[in-house]
Point group: C2
Chain length 209, copies 2
DNA sequence: CAACTTAAAACGAACGTTCCTTCTTGACAA
DNA sequence: TTGTCAAGAAGGAACGTTCGTTTTAAGTTG
């Protein structure tokens, strides 16, 4: 087909990205061959190479899409006003993640957390991607640090608590639950909320470090 | 060398495992070629293939070593009596991890968290490894669930809290911080402790789910 | 028909692995 | 103690396969 519509081109590109994402979520970036992707999207090499210059670019496109999604989730969570307490904020962020990227594998496993951990491993390999991830992380850290400050303002927690450390800890919770979703599946945001509430109910013992 | 001592054989095997671990931590399992490993350990193919039947077996050996280490850390943490509160227990678990597997890459990055995330991606590919990981996770969940119960017994938290959910949440914290260490480096267990204390100091809002 | 997309075959490079050779070692006889 | 030998560990070239990519030809649509 010649001079095909822009919608067609966009749709093809998306088809390739979606198919590649399935492959990558299933097998990882480097254990997935181009031929796996070609079979998944049911296109020939010539077609795919018209939209992406190579495997590297395909990987990079998917990695940045995942990172953008995650960054968006975190930042949207930070914009809620007034900010909910962590036991609501964090599960809600994960729920939004599922709303926004609901795709599943054949087995029913939710694809996105799997892609996340694949992206993590890939960023340790690629300095360029590491920069993107690092920038996003820094922004999220400050945004969530501001949430913590607002907790303080609302009298929900002592003013001398370490806001940045708490922000990082909340981010770690999201990452850790994403990991558990990817690895074991069948774990709901509800569980995270219950666990967080339980954790926040623990009376502190005197620090003994 | 013929009929060489058992210590020699063990040392060679360890040399190969250590070198391969460096490669894998740096580039991941499937972006690392056998020739990369051969160069890293400064041995020929003939030598390495005398100790491991192939790349798969090498990967499996390293994955199970990592999983065993992590499981050991979690279980040892669960055996402390009386159990410290989470803000002490969890950073201590990570500190023990560093004690036990202190190896670093050339750049000074701590190798073990990187290996952990590589292992996560590999377990999603291999049903056998997924079983090993799943079994370990189940055990850790119950062990840490018992810690939570002992918190309740000690009057540190309400008796109706969801112990299993809290155990999973604490595990998620360990995983999330491991991810941050792998991805961004330069984050101390101290930060996790501070963040956790801050998190535990937040007054709960009424549940609104 | 012209413009351009797609299919399919084919390419060189790199992969994991094997195979045969070379070298090293420990045991044993003298 | 020394010299010899068999066993086996290590070396390294070579194998067949599979990889990512390119090229060429056919097909399709405005």
């Amino acid at each position: 087909m010649a001079r095909v519509s822009q919608e067609h081109l966009d749709a093809r590109r998306r088809q390739i990205l979606d198919g590649a994402a399935s492959c990558f979520a299933r097998n990882g970036f480097h254990a997935t061959s181009m031929q796996d992707v070609l079979k998944e999207v049911d296109l020939s090499a010539g077609a795919v190479y018209r939209y992406f210059s190579g495997k590297e670019e395909l990987i990079a496109a998917i990695v940045t899409e995942v990172l953008d999604t995650v960054r968006g989730i975190f930042e949207r969570a930070a914009q809620e006003s007034p900010p909910p307490t962590p036991d609501v904020l964090i599960p809600r962020a994960l729920a939004r993640m599922r709303e926004q990227r609901p795709a599943t594998l054949e087995g029913g496993e939710w694809m996105f957390p799997r892609l996340m951990i694949q992206v993590w491993t890939e960023t340790t390999r690629s300095p360029e991607l590491a920069v993107v991830l690092g920038d996003g992380y820094r922004n999220v850290r400050t945004a969530w640090g501001e949430i913590v400050e607002s907790y303080k303002d609302a009298g929900l927690m002592p003013a001398d608590a370490d806001a940045d450390a708490m922000a990082r800890t909340m981010i770690a919770l999201v990452q850790g639950f994403a990991a558990q979703m990817a690895l074991f599946g069948g774990i709901s945001e509800q569980t995270l909320g219950d666990g967080l509430r339980a954790l926040m109910s623990v009376g502190r013992a005197p620090a003994d470090t």
